[in-house]
Subunit: 194 residues, 2 copies
Amino acid sequence: MKYKLLLENFRKNVQLNEDEETLFESLVEERKVRRKHILLQEGQHNHHLYFVISGCLRAYSIDKNGFHHILQFAPADWWITDMYSYVTGEPSSLNIDALEETTFLSITKENQELAYREIPKLERHFRILMEKNLVTNRKRIIDRLSLTAMERFKTFCHTYPDLINKIPQKQVASYIGITPEFLSKVRSEYLKSL
Amino acid sequence: MKYKLLLENFRKNVQLNEDEETLFESLVEERKVRRKHILLQEGQHNHHLYFVISGCLRAYSIDKNGFHHILQFAPADWWITDMYSYVTGEPSSLNIDALEETTFLSITKENQELAYREIPKLERHFRILMEKNLVTNRKRIIDRLSLTAMERFKTFCHTYPDLINKIPQKQVASYIGITPEFLSKVRSEYLKSL
DNA sequence: CGAAAATTTGACATGACTCAACTGGAGTGG
DNA sequence: CCACTCCAGTTGAGTCATGTCAAATTTTCG
């Protein structure tokens, strides 16, 4: 299996033997996208799970006023998809695109189901991934309910120190749920206070 | 197995045979709590997963100003826990209590792990549960980012029609992330507009 | 290098919060 | 079964956090 990062990802929760690794490798497709290239567009059907090898993907929705709201960043070693569309088969309400040139693995739902049948312990791996993902999302809901914009900004800096220097402020604003203008003000207040 | 509702819950995703049902039954404990009784308190360690048979539980956090923020309601047929504490073993940051007299099943993490070992297909069931839970939480994040208070209130009424007539308005406010006073105003606007 | 995008800044607008007063219904004890 | 208390809910006045819009400036990258 040539995808070391994917193996490491699996190894956090389960041990695969060589045949199983080879099987899984045969089920994924390696792809590459350029910066700003859209991988999944709102309204399309989504049958894929993506695993980032290098670069960074992001999932966002666009509201009725045209504002973007970022739901997730996926740097290397992260899984990403529109889970709603993936689970239900309904058209996607999210967009997924690349913040920079990104290499990733793509696996269809059919192949993923096949993998579950052939390698049942994968269920365990993905169950645990989903649990952790759930924890992250719940934390984010609580933060939005109980923290001010500046506190959320500080939390973001603390939680994603790598992203801060990599992505435009505008995207951070969209993630923590404020306007870019207001983030600019909040940030300058914050810098003054240091 | 005497817990029909639990069986139905499993059957949505997997088929257990009679031995497996009996095994699982032996791992859970049936409990009952009164209205307002606290099941899990912030700061305690949480090693349990709960499944509601009748009544309604709720999970909430309390912020530094003493305000409550409701993360989840769990009516009959729902699973609930502080997933963060459950997964990491850290003390809980959430409280779980009963909105009304509630009967539920409680299973320890040790027993749940044992169940996964003895009945591997349960991994599948809980993977799927977690995926759906994730979808719900993501939807809630998006709603909070893109909708006004009134829109969120309407969404709540639409999503949880049963709860609306069962729980005090104050709790709805805490769930959608506004003050009870403001919900009162929003609600009267909404009723006028019908 | 030049165009396009991101960021900053300021004046002004507004959605949501705070606080306080009032009302009404639910639970409790005598 | 009444009186009492205690929350939940309502309403209004004033305030605050954040949004809107527009203009100027800086950065990015094609």
